[in-house]
């Protein structure tokens, strides 16, 4: 164990990202299922206040179990089962997902058994999303989408049903990893679809904003997956393994859009998965302290990696990606630092003269830093909600995100 390891766990002025339990709820919100957080109190309030923009506009069956000390100590899981079953019988959701906070994790609640019992009692597909409240939303939402894909695959079969792209038809694509935690402006989902269609792709499903469970069930009939945030990478890897659907990670912003679309086509053709922005970033990672003028983007790696790539393409100057969320494997350059805790974040961001990040990170940068604010709902929640701008603007010739300096 690293000496003074606790220093990566202390925060004296910065907030933490949305947690894993909220991530689960966010990912499954629109699909007609029922999500139960096995937690005493607080998770639901936190989620609907700080981590969810749809709560007052779109009904969803998201509930808390209200776990008590007595039930935890006595192992009374039957109450959880009974409560879920009675609610399920009333609402008849399309599926049931159970996530949990630390105590059920600590006491080793047998969620597989709970799911089996619920499913047996009400006949509705039930799955557990492994959480313990100690991780960020990329882990929770990522695991939720993966479990959902697994559930759907039981129904739709294990066969990859896409035909070769050579017959001249449009390439079919699933968009993976889209939740309001990263794509807060709802029109972004529609505009991304529009941009892809304009580029000659056919969008089969978007995981998971705006599409129904039925649309998501069409996922095997796809040539390629587009991973638009790290919440989609686990599912993409699984689909690659199970269905041989390759993936490309990135979002079409500005000058990088062309690279991404090209990469997506190439990916379908060559069956090689990658993050489309990585190559550019590998060549331009400027984390070293001897760099004259250093700039970076910081936050969720797929989105900020794409924005960094766009910057490089625009002016030819280097730009680093500083991932601040948890899921980074194969999504960040090898040399990219992955700071944990406030001190490390300050140390890393403090090297840069120009930083693009959420406004709450402004204070972690140098005072003379040229700071470009890009509010991220999963970090600053409602604080800068009115300053979150659409990432995509298909109507303006795919120009994408427009930058505004402080």
């Amino acid at each position: 164990m690293a000496p003074e390891y606790w220093k990566t766990q202390t925060w004296w002025s910065l907030p933490v990202y949305t947690g894993d339990v909220s991530g689960v709820c966010s990912a499954l919100y629109e699909l007609g299922g029922m999500v139960v957080m096995h937690d005493p109190s607080g998770c639901n309030s936190t989620y609907n206040t700080h981590d969810e923009v749809r709560w007052t506009d779109m009904e969803s069956l998201i509930f808390l179990s209200g776990l008590t000390q007595l039930d935890a100590i006595t192992g009374n899981d039957q109450k959880l089962v009974d409560d879920i079953v009675s609610a399920a019988e009333r609402f008849r959701p399309a599926f049931i997902a159970i996530a949990n906070s630390p105590i059920p994790w600590l006491i080793g609640t047998d969620f597989d058994a709970v799911c089996r019992k619920v499913e047996k009692s009400c006949g509705i597909r039930t799955f557990h999303v492994e959480t313990n409240a100690m991780h960020d939303y990329t882990k929770g939402a990522g695991s939720a989408l993966l479990q959902l894909a697994r559930m759907l695959s039981d129904t739709v079969g294990k066969e990859h049903r896409s035909r070769p792209a050579a017959d001249g038809r449009k390439l079919r694509v699933n968009i993976l990893g889209m939740t309001p935690l990263d794509f807060t402006v709802r029109s972004d989902a529609y505009r991304l679809r529009q941009m892809l269609e304009k580029e000659g792709f056919e969008v089969v499903s978007t995981w998971a904003i705006g599409d129904s469970l039925t649309q998501l069930s069409g996922f095997p009939e796809t040539d390629v997956n587009l991973v638009v945030s790290s919440t989609g990478i686990e599912t993409a890897r699984w689909m690659e393994e199970m269905y041989r659907i390759p993936y490309t990670a990135g979002i079409p912003v500005g000058a990088f859009s062309e690279v991404l679309f090209r990469s997506l086509r190439q990916c379908a053709e060559e069956q090689v998965s990658k993050a489309a922005y990585l190559e550019l970033l590998e060549e331009n990672q400027t984390a070293d302290t001897d760099v004259q003028y250093a700039r970076c983007t910081a936050g969720e790696p797929v989105i900020m990696g794409s924005i960094a790539a766009d910057k490089i393409l625009r002016d030819g100057k280097p730009c680093s990606l500083i991932p601040l969320t948890e899921t980074v494997q194969s999504l960040v350059p090898d040399r990219a630092p992955h700071p944990a805790g406030e001190q490390q974040i300050r140390d890393v961001l403090g090297r840069y003269e120009e930083v693009t990040a959420d406004p709450m990170l402004r204070g972690a940068c140098r005072s003379d830093c040229r700071f470009e604010e890009m509010p991220h709902f999963a970090l600053s929640g409602r604080m800068y909600l009115n300053r979150i701008r659409p990432l995509f603007d298909a109507m303006k010739g795919n120009k994408g995100y427009s930058y505004e300096h402080e």
């Binding site: 164990m1 509930f63 209200g66 019988e89 009333r90 105590i103 409602r382």
Partner: protein, 466 residues
């Protein structure tokens, strides 16, 4: 595993006629929905009310998110800090190392060391058997100039014994040390909504020469500590009772709980108790009669203005929702629904009266899963005996949400209303709610009424997320 001998309840309807309701828990526990009405204070607000205090939460990310963002939205990020718990911390020891070292690391980074720090422990500390005494002893040794106060965010004990809110209020006032008592000093403490200077309770005291202080009068830690010299401590908020009783025992002050009563008899009795506790002459009967007549006039006027409109009350607006229901019904006002999840002991009399005289009054659970359906409160009313859709006046944010109405009294925890004047002001607020419509979707998701709210609300026009 241990087996329960009682069966858990199958899901019951979200509403029950009061005639069929049990006391004090009208609804069995089941899955819980959470309405987007957040005007009430949470433990962050309560802790921050102590001037110059800092709060450090030691908890896992997902649990931390709600409190860290609460602090940010209320503009108190500079007094809020956190230490996150990871799996290894549970394996290394019983969270003692991460708590001591993490809190110390946070404090080391603070440019000015605060006089008092609330360290919030969580459910994990309890379940891993953390040696809390050791943690606080060690912190005290390392930072002798700081007073460490144990706070809890132990949600798992929320429904069994004192809630984290009640325990924090207790902790808050344990900071205050006994001082020589000053007979002219009276504290009104334990609640979150301050009484106005011209409120009945304050004027009753100040007009008799008493120096009335509330926590909102304290802008420095020193002023907060000076609250220990009051001869009398008054509490009007149920969750503050234990804290104020404890404070009074330690300081030797007289303690009096003056519930936010809404019946003339109870108010009379409280006035009597107040005069006895503070040592002033009983309030003149003529004044009492005059006030009761003024209340009657306000209620008559309200009934006339409402003209048969339905009133729905929720428990977040006032600690006496059933008492208010009774008061309004007795004056010819149509209260058809009270939203609550439990009934406080002090409401037992109102409960019994309503059970006997208004058996059809609906009691509706705010956390019941069925309430996740938008406008469910209004639907319940429409499913009533005559099935008529009616305009609804809501008292409280949750009532506004469930009835989807902008005609609501935007009030939490009694709104600083007390006594006869409280009744008259409440009538005025209901009339105001009747006359104008507020943007409830923009107002009610904001946290902690009375604190700044530095955020935009999803769904509102300016949020830009549509």
């Amino acid at each position: 595993m241990l087996k329960r001998v009682t069966k858990s309840n199958p899901m019951v309807p979200e509403g029950v006629r009061i005639a069929d309701a049990s006391f004090p828990l009208p609804f069995p526990r089941t899955l819980e929905y959470n309405a987007p009405a957040h005007g009430t204070w949470n433990i962050v607000h309560i802790g921050m009310a102590v001037p110059e205090s800092h709060s450090i939460y030691v908890c896992s990310d997902n649990c931390l998110r709600g409190v860290v963002m609460t602090a940010a939205e209320m503009g108190c990020s500079d007094r809020f800090h956190s230490v996150t718990i990871q799996e290894r911390d549970v394996q290394v020891d019983n969270l003692e190392t991460i708590t001591i070292e993490g809190v110390s690391d946070v404090i080391a980074h603070l440019p000015d060391k605060p006089p008092v720090v609330f360290v919030f422990l969580v459910c994990l500390h309890i379940f891993t058997g953390s040696d809390e005494a050791y943690i606080f002893r060690e912190l005290g040794k390392r930072w002798p100039q700081i007073r460490f106060v144990k706070g809890y965010m132990d949600c798992i004990r929320q429904k069994e014994g004192p809630s984290p809110d009640m325990k924090l209020r207790m902790a808050e006032f344990t900071i205050i040390e006994p001082l020589p008592l000053k007979p002219e000093r009276v504290n009104i403490l334990g609640g979150d909504v301050p009484f106005e200077k011209d409120s009945e309770l304050v004027t009753l005291l100040s007009s008799r020469g008493y120096d009335v202080r509330q926590i909102t009068d304290c802008s420095t830690f020193e002023q907060f500590l000076a609250l220990g010299d009051a001869a009398v401590n008054l509490c009007t908020y149920p969750n503050g009772q234990d804290a104020l009783r404890n404070l009074s025992e330690r300081t030797g002050s007289r303690y009096l709980y003056l519930s936010a009563a809404v019946s003339y008899g109870e108010i009379r009795s409280q006035l009597q108790s107040l005069s006895e506790a503070c040592g002033f002459d009983p309030v003149p009967e003529a004044w009492i009669i005059e006030q009761e007549e003024a209340c009657e006039e306000s209620l008559r006027h309200l009934a006339h203005v409402l003209d048969g409109q339905v009133v729905v009350i929720d428990y977040t607006a006032h600690s006496r929702p059933l008492g208010i229901a009774r008061l309004l019904i007795e004056h010819g006002i149509r209260v058809e629904c009270v939203l609550l999840d439990i009934i406080l002991d002090e409401e037992e009399e109102a409960f019994s009266w309503l059970k006997m005289h208004c058996p059809g009054l609906m009691m509706v659970a705010t956390v019941h899963p069925q309430m996740a359906l938008f406008g469910r409160g209004r639907e319940i009313l429409e499913e009533g005996p005559d099935g008529i859709s009616r305009d609804v006046i809501a008292i409280g944010q949750k009532a506004a949400w469930f009835c989807q109405t902008g005609h609501f009294v935007n009030m939490i925890e009694g709104g600083g209303l007390w006594g006869y004047q409280g009744i008259q002001k409440l009538c005025g607020l209901i009339e105001e709610a009747c006359a104008r419509e507020l943007d409830y979707r923009e107002i009610i998701p904001r946290k902690g009424m009375g604190w700044p709210s530095l955020c935009a609300v999803p769904g509102s026009e300016q949020s830009g997320c549509r």
